[in-house]
Symmetry: C2
């Protein structure tokens, strides 16, 4: 009997207990930023891990939600795999929920409440457990606990190193420093970031990276105050039009960013990455229809290909007023809010410098504050750029041994082939793992895509919980070697 | 003794009575839109005119502030001159006033209250009468009444046709139709629009025109709703950037509007107009300093020259949000609010058509409403243009006999040379006079420039009141011929 068969047999017999444990975890309120509540969550997780013989403890500075770190021992000399999840959740608006967010409720496909089954009673894969953090992101923690129970005394070919964060939904303000501070205990051969959903249709996937992020506010100046457009229009310079010209200079009609050097550092997709991209089913026609678009910015382009390049996005524009509030004025200033998504290789600081240089090359005096009267009188074109230096993209190589290993085990656990996605469109500070610990990190999601992440009625489909249990059991019992260990010590 | 000398002698002796009559006029509250109050004003004006032998009456539809029309007879066969003023005033915020807006108060140059002088007592030209509408625009009415008294039985070489409006501060909604309805009684050889201030430093001026006005809201569309800039940025088209490109295509770096035909109908300044422009003292250096600018939109250009061309002004921009409220989205739409000031010759409807054509030539489907789902799917670029057809500019020819006549008499009345300004930068529907009555109209202001027009503590400098009295007396007694009357009837 294979490990998967054994685990499946065990969890069919113990589904009710697994569900009760999962429900107990998500019944703990865990709104991000609520440190006392999050300390209770961390304590509970540590206790449940220790009950399974796992070394675990809460670490971190006072006054912040702790990091739970732990170790699931393997056989002597086993490779080490890191497993990251987060136990804090998004804020809740209870009025928007069908049932209270911290009263876990089992629901059927028709939305009707299902009583928690009695021990030994069958459960339906299509049932869902509804509660805040059921999917994002306590599901991997519950799946791990069940996998440990299912394996019992089976020898573990892999040692698991655990890292459960309590500040993810607050932007992970302490993650980088905590990884560095506990680098010795968190040393692994690879990290799995267990967060986010699998693909549409519940197809299993391994995600190799995320885009980085940085942003800025660009303001250009006209007269010191709004002017009457009759008395001064055609004579006094108009900052809204100047801003339009400046923005238009940043991207051409073909959708290509024309800022010098914008893609100079961007890593060209490797053959394996390009092959992974090409293997993905096309989604563009359906997307265009759903989004009400006739064509992509670069007509005919594929979404996934475009995510491999840095983007320049005008996320907002503002000058004086429009609509009924419009006044007949020359605005005093005009502002564009811009976010830049970074691809692998791009450096956030260097990208911001390039935008600054571009604006300066277009004749602007570039400041990071309001101009003085003397600067206004001395420079016909003044721009203020207020930048926030963000963080780089992270992208693991598609040909790493861990990637092939995960694809194989995810395929076994799901009973259908898994695919490797080179990058998500979104940004999370995944780079911390590679920067602080020097090991590759890949995203290994288990939640269903329609889990209502961040919204009301968040839920986890039970079939996806079982996928997690099977996957973690396989990971613990299947040998894999990220690198040749014969030539050196651990 | 000249007429001016005689009038000055009379008003020195009767200054107190003139002031009392003026104070009585501005003591009548006259906030625009307050029809009962404005009817009281009209009735009072009609009564005071009739007391001087002037034919006068209130006309117009029920429920609106009436038009006061009248006739000051001249010698048989005298040329006819129209005199327009308005008796309604801007709304008031009494808390902002030093003294109540409808309790006329005489103040000295130091701001101290001066008691109304006793009959025969001297008055100082630098005193001011403070009250709503003292300058804007009951001053010409008070000056006319005083001029009639001063002239007494002196033969009048010119017949005056009077038109005092009660809806100017509400945008003159009925003026055009009332001028048409009473065109027979309002037939003249020329119209003087007595409104607005003289030049800085109290230099007398005749203004030959105003700019016309029309405006529009231009919205371009992206996806049907805001999109996550990570998941879709670089693939879904960004309407803020599309709007920037479209606006940038409308005006070049040199400040020239690049919309096809934008100045095709614009009347080139005549030699006389250009000479008048060239005669104006330069104001640009002082303006740049006051407005906090290093250079004009067209560096080195003169304000007055630029007012002779139509302008395209982006008065507002809006897409999603900027600053602390900015979200990481691709906006669903982006809007520019645009006002167009028209020069002599430009047609508002044709100008709007040219903007529409320009947008269409840039590949946009141009609508005047939200696009349908089918239109979104069928057209990669969609713009909505919501236009309000405004009104044309008005500009009298600088070589008309009335212009030279006014410059001469204004110079005599002020004791210093008067200048002709081809156009104001602002827009008022002056075209009504030319369109409805077929006669040229020029603006003949008498108020001081620092009169606090539309604001608290509005006031008229007494020297400017005397300028009006002298000017109207001269106009009534100095023959002038706008056209050769020998070849036809009246």
């Amino acid at each position: 009997m294979t490990v998967v068969d054994a685990v499946r047999g065990w969890r069919r017999d113990h589904a009710a207990e697994v569900l009760r444990e999962f429900a107990g975890l998500v019944a703990l309120d865990n709104v991000t930023g609520d440190v006392p509540a999050l300390r209770r969550n961390a304590g509970e997780i540590v206790e449940r891990l220790r009950a399974r013989g796992v070394e675990a403890e809460s670490v971190g500075p006072d006054g912040v939600a702790p990091l739970v770190i732990g170790r699931v021992p393997g056989r002597p000399g086993a490779p080490r795999l890191g497993l990251y999840a987060h136990y804090d959740g998004q804020p809740v608006t209870p009025a928007d929920w069908t049932t209270p967010p911290f009263e876990p409720t089992l629901v059927g496909p028709d939305g009707a409440t299902v009583p928690l089954p009695a021990p030994g009673a069958p459960v339906d894969d299509e049932w869902r457990l509804r509660a805040r953090a059921a999917a994002d992101d306590k599901a991997p923690i519950a799946a791990l606990l069940a996998a440990l129970d299912a394996l019992g005394g089976t020898e573990r070919e892999v040692e698991l190193v655990l890292c459960f964060e309590g500040e993810e939904e607050s932007g992970s303000p302490h993650l980088g420093e905590l990884l560095l501070a506990y680098a010795d205990r968190l040393a692994t051969d690879a990290w799995l970031i267990c967060d986010g959903p699998v693909r549409q249709g519940n197809a299993p996937q391994v995600v190799l990276g995320v885009r980085g992020f940085t942003d800025l506010e660009l303001t250009v100046y006209g007269p010191a105050g709004e002017l009457h457009s009759g008395h001064y229009g055609n004579w006094a310079p108009n900052p809204a039009l100047a801003l339009a010209r400046l923005l238009a200079s940043m991207k051409d009609d073909a959708g290509r960013v024309t800022i010098d050097g914008f893609t100079a550092d961007t890593r060209t997709p490797t053959g394996a990455e390009q092959a992974a991209l090409d293997a993905m089913p096309p989604v563009e026609d359906e997307l265009l229809d759903r989004l009400g678009l006739a064509a992509a910015e670069v007509p005919g382009s594929r979404l996934l290909d475009r995510l491999m390049l840095p983007s320049l996005n005008v996320r907002g524009l503002r000058a004086a007023d429009v609509g009924p509030a419009a006044r007949n004025v020359i605005p005093a200033s005009a502002t564009a809010s811009i976010d830049i998504r970074l691809a692998a290789g791009d450096d956030p600081r260097r990208m911001l410098d390039r935008v600054r240089d571009h604006v300066a090359e277009h004749g602007y005096l570039v400041l990071d504050r309001e101009p003085t009267d003397a600067e206004r009188r001395g420079h016909p074109a003044i721009a203020r750029i207020e930048a926030r230096v963000g963080y780089p993209a992270a992208r693991a190589r598609a040909d790493l041994p861990i990637v092939g290993h995960l694809l194989e085990l995810a395929g076994l656990a799901a009973g259908r082939p898994a695919v490797a996605l080179p990058t998500l469109g979104g940004s999370v500070p995944l780079h911390h793992f590679e920067q602080a610990l020097g090991t590759p990190a890949v995203i290994m999601p288990i939640a269903n895509p329609d889990n209502n992440q961040h919204a009301a009625d968040e839920n986890l489909r039970l079939g996806n919980l079982w996928y997690g249990v099977d996957l973690f059991a396989l990971l613990l019992t299947t040998p894999w070697h990220e690198r040749d260990r014969s030539s050196g010590g651990a």
